[in-house]
Symmetry: C2
Subunit: 647 residues, 2 copies
Amino acid sequence: MLADKYYQAFAAFAGLNMILAICAGVLCALIAPAAAGSGIPEVKAYLNGVDAHSILAPSTLLVKIFGSVFGVAAGFVVGKEGPMVHTGACIANLLGQGGSRKYHLTWKWLRFFKNDRDRRDLITCGAAAGVAVAFRAPVGGVLFALEEAASWWRSALLWRTFFTTAVVAMVLRSLIQFCKSGKCGLFGQGGLIMFNVNSANPSYNTADLLAIMLIGVLGGILGSLYNYLVDKVLRTYSIINERGPAFKILLVIVVSLLTSCCAYGLPWFAACTPCPTDLDVQCPTIGRSGNYKNFQCAEGHYNGLASLFLNTNDDAIRNLFSSTNKNEFHISALFIFFAAVYFLGVITYGIAIPSGLFIPVILAGASYGRLLGRLLGSFASLDVGLFGLLGAASFLGGTMRMTVSLCVILLELTNDLLMLPLMMLVLLISKTVADSFNKGVYDQIVKMKGLPYMEAHAEPYMRQLVASDVCSGPLISFSGVEKVGNILHALRMTRHNGFPVIDEPPFADAPELCGLVLRSHLLVLLNAKKFTKNRVLTRTEYLRMFHAFDFGKAGSGKGLKVEDLDINEEEMEMYVDLHPITNTSPYTVVETMSLAKAAVLFRELGLRHVCVVPKTPGRPPIVGILTRHDFMPEHVLGLYPDIHPHK
Amino acid sequence: MLADKYYQAFAAFAGLNMILAICAGVLCALIAPAAAGSGIPEVKAYLNGVDAHSILAPSTLLVKIFGSVFGVAAGFVVGKEGPMVHTGACIANLLGQGGSRKYHLTWKWLRFFKNDRDRRDLITCGAAAGVAVAFRAPVGGVLFALEEAASWWRSALLWRTFFTTAVVAMVLRSLIQFCKSGKCGLFGQGGLIMFNVNSANPSYNTADLLAIMLIGVLGGILGSLYNYLVDKVLRTYSIINERGPAFKILLVIVVSLLTSCCAYGLPWFAACTPCPTDLDVQCPTIGRSGNYKNFQCAEGHYNGLASLFLNTNDDAIRNLFSSTNKNEFHISALFIFFAAVYFLGVITYGIAIPSGLFIPVILAGASYGRLLGRLLGSFASLDVGLFGLLGAASFLGGTMRMTVSLCVILLELTNDLLMLPLMMLVLLISKTVADSFNKGVYDQIVKMKGLPYMEAHAEPYMRQLVASDVCSGPLISFSGVEKVGNILHALRMTRHNGFPVIDEPPFADAPELCGLVLRSHLLVLLNAKKFTKNRVLTRTEYLRMFHAFDFGKAGSGKGLKVEDLDINEEEMEMYVDLHPITNTSPYTVVETMSLAKAAVLFRELGLRHVCVVPKTPGRPPIVGILTRHDFMPEHVLGLYPDIHPHK
C-alpha cells in the first residue's frame, strides 16, 4: 500500500475483489446454479434419498471448485469447507456413475455402484473426505459424515469412511511434507494441525466455569439468531434470484462492494497500537498475510482491525486463537470485527457463489469469544485465546447443532486435548439453548429449498392418523399380464415411480396382490418389445434377453424416459407379462396402522414405496401406496388442517 | 524386598496374590457368576435385545466392582476397562428399573424408563461412561458405544451419550484436581491424559511406512491368533467351570500361581543394566511403582524385566511407550515380556474373576511394537516409544476390530495428534488382515455363550429361503374374546411371548388378523380378573381399571409370572376381551418374502415378533410368527442342512 494514495488503493482493492466476485457469480449463475451455497444441505438431502436436479453433476463440480476459489479470493466472508464437502460428494458421484459419458470418462468396473445403497455409501465417503481435507481432520470427517450427513448408518459404512479419510490423511501429509519449503503458497502453512493452540496447562476454577457457561448460553442465542437471519435473508434473496442470472450477478456485485467497504473502511476506526517489544515475529508485518498489519499507522505501530480484516481467513482465526499477546486487539476492534463479520456472514450466504458457513461462523464466534474474554478479564483467569476457541465452539454449536463431530474437528484443528471437557460443555450448552429456538442451519436450508427430507423420528401428530388417511391420488394398478397400451398410458399420464401389480383370475383364484413394479424397470421392459398377442404367461422365455445390469440404476439423467419409447399402434394392443420384473414381496402395512409407525418403517428401511393393504378380507387387495411425499408435514397438515402440529 | 531372602519374598508375593485372587474368585463363583469376564459381550448382547439372566443385576454390579479390584490387585494380567463398562451398564440398568426394590432404593420418576427403548438408551449411556472413565477418553467413550456396543443408533442417542461423557469428563477432572497432591494413591497420576507421549515432531519416511505396515500385518495375524486361542481356552474352561464353584476357584488359584511364578521368576533371566547417568528420575526406583526396578541387581543397576512385570499395568504401559531412553529394555527382555503377557492374557480370560481384555492386549501389543522397533532400529528412524504405541494399536485392531473408536481412545490416551495418520493406517491394516481369519473377540464370546445375537446384515444363505420356511412350532392363536382357561393353558404350556389374535364371526365377517398380544400384557389382564360370563365385547368398561404404567416393562425378574396367577375353576370358564390390549397393527411380512428381507425388517426396526401372513386370500389369516430364534444360523441351518452357509 503506497503512502497517502488511499483512494486509489481502495479502488484497486474493491475493483479486484469485484472482478473475482463477478467471475464466481457468472460461473454460478450461468453454468451451474446448483453450485451456489454451501452444498452440505443438498448432500444431506441426497443421502436421505432426495436426488435433486443436477446437484451432483460434473458441471456443478467444476463450478464449485473454481467458483469457490474465486469467491474466497474475492474477500467474501465465506468458507471453503462446505464447498469442499460438496466437491467430495460430486467426485464420488462421478465415480459411482461409472464416470461421465458426456466427458468421455468411463470405467467398466464402476457399474457395481449401479444401485442406490452403494452409490449412497460412496457419496458419504466423498463428503467425509471433504471435511477431512478442509479441516485436516480425518476422524472429524468420519464423524461429520455420521452425525450430520448420513441418514442411514451401518458398521460397514463406518469402516469405509474411515478408510477414505485415512487415505486423505496420508495424501495430505505427503503433500504438506512436499510443500514444507513454502513452494505451494499458503498450503504448507500450519502443518496437519491448522490452528495449534496447544497450551501448557489450562487450569480453570469455578469463576472460569461460570464464564464458560455464559459463553455457551450467549453463543447459543446468537447462533440461533444467526440461523433465523440467514433464513430471512435467503427467502428475500430467492425472490431476487428468481428474476434471472443478471439479477443474481448484480446481487453478487452489491455484496462484494459492501464487503470491500467494510474490510477497507472499518480499520480506519481503530486506533494504532504500538508494537509490543518482546515479539518473536515481525511487527508490523510487510506482505500479504501475517499477524500485525501496519495499514495507515506510523512505523512501529499496527492496526488491530486491519490485522483481522485484511488477512486470509486462516490467519485471522489464528490471530484470534493466539495466546501470545493478550492485549493484541482492542475491545472496540474485536467488537467492530464481530459485528461486521456477523452481518456480512448473514448477507453473503445465499448469493450466487459457492459459500461455506463454517469460516464465517468460526470467525464471528472466535471474535465474540475473545471479546467476552477481554470483558471478563478481571473475573476469569482463562487465556483470551482459549476464550476465542470456546466462543467459536459455542457459535458452531448454536448454528450447526452438531456435538461429537464438532468436538473432534475442533480438537483436530487446535490439538488441545486438555480443553476437551470445556469444549464439550460449551457445545452442549449452546446446542441446548439454540435448539429451544429453531432448527439447525442445514435443516433450515433443506426445508427452505423444499426438499422432501424424511426426519429420523415420526412427528407427534402422526399418531393421530392411520396409514390409509394420507394415501393420495387415484391408485393405478396393473394386472399380472397387462396390455402394453395401458402401461404406456399410465406411464405418460402419471409421474408415479411404483405401480402395484394385481393377479386376477385366471392367474389366481381371487384378486391378490402380486407385488410392486417400478417405472424404470417397466421402461426397460417396454423398450425390449418382447410382447405377446394373447394374455399368457411368458416368464422364463425372455429373462435370458436381459442382463442384471440392464435393470441397474442409471446415472442421473441417463435412464430411459417414456418419450424414448417407440411403440406402434399394433404393439399397443399386445400384452406383456410383468411377473418377472415384479417385486413379489414389497413391504406392506395394514390400513389401520398408525401413520407414525408406518413412517418409522418407511424411514428405517429406507423405502420408496409402502403398499397399504386392507384389514378385512374380501376387498381389493391393495388400498393405496405411501411414498415419501405422503409423509411430508406439508402434505399431511394440508389434508388435515385441524390437527395441531406440535402434539 | 530384603536382601537374599528371595524364597521368603516369593512366598509372600505369591501368597498375597493368591489370597486376593481367592477373594475375587469366591465372590464371582458363589455370589454372581455373571460378573466373570469382561462384560462387554454381555452388554453388547443386551443392547441387541438379549436380556440374559441377571447380567445387569445389583449383585453382579457389586461383585464386578470388588472382584475387579481384587483381580487387578492380585497381579493377574487383566484390565479394569471391560469391567468398568459393565459396571456403568449395571448402574444405568439399576436406575432404569426405578432402583432396586430388594435393596430399598427406588425412585418414582424413574418409571419413565419402563420401556425397552429408553432403558436401552440409558444402558448405552452407562457403557459409554464406563469407557470414558476407564481411559479418561470422553469422546472415545461415545464412539465405543456407537461402534461396538449399540445395535441401533439414533441422533438423540448420540447427543445423550455425549452429554453423559461430558459429565464424566467434568467430574473426572475435578477429582484429578482434588487428588493432585497425591492423597488418592495412584489415581491422581497422569492427569486427564494417561500416557502422554506428545512428541515434538514425528517425521517419518518411506522406510518407516514399510515398517509400520509390517507392524499392522503382524499385529493383525497375532491378534486373530489371540482370538483363536482365547476361544479355545474359553471352551476348555467352560467344561471345568461347569463342575461347580469349587472347580472355578481351583482354576483361579492355579492361574494365580502361574502368574506369580512368571512375574517373579522371569526377571531372573534378564541381565542387570547399569543406570543411565543423564536421568531426571530416580534410578533404581525404591517403592511400589516406578520406572527402573532394582530387583536382584546391585546398586546403580536396574532389571528391565522387573520394571515391566513388578509394576502397575499403567506404569508398565507408560514405560513401553516412553521415548526418553531408547535402550531402556533389552531385546531379550521385551521378547520374554511379550511372550509371557500374550500367554498369560490368553489363559487368564475365562477364569471366574472380572477380567478386561484391553490391558492385556495393550501390554502385549506395546511390547511387541517396541520389540519390532528395536529389531528394525537400523532400518526405520521412528522412535521406539512410537513403535510401542503403534504395536498396541495393531493388536487392538487385530483383536477387537474397531476402527474410529480405538483411534480416538488411543489419541485421548496419548495426546499425540500428529501420529493420527499412522495410527489410522495401522488400525486399518491389522483389522483387514485379522478379519480374513476370524471374527472380533467380543463377537466370538457372544457366539460361544450362545446368546442369540442378531447381526446387522442378513446372511447370504437367507436369500434362498422364504419367511414361511423357518416358522417353527405349532401356531397358538386366540380369538378376540377368548376363554380364560384357554389363555391360561397356552401360557402354561408354551414359553411364547407373543400370540396372534384372530377375530372370527360374529365379531368379523370372515376370520381376520386382529393383531398381536404379548404374554406380559395377558398376565396383567388375567391378574385383574375382569372376566365376563358370556362371549361379549367389553372394551371401554375396564380400560379405566388400568394405568398406562401397569403395562410398562417391569424390572428384570420383577414381572408377573404365570405361577403368580390365582384363577379358580369357575373363572376358567369365563371370557375375557383381548381387544383393548391387542396391538392391532403388528408389522407383517408375506409368506413368500425372502428370509433375508424379513431379517432386515426384523433387525432394523428392532422387533421381537413378525407376523407371517398368507399370500393368497381365503386361507387362515396368519401363517406363523417369526421371532429372533427363527433367524439364528443354528436354527435355519438345522432345518435345512443342505444349504451351504457361505453362499
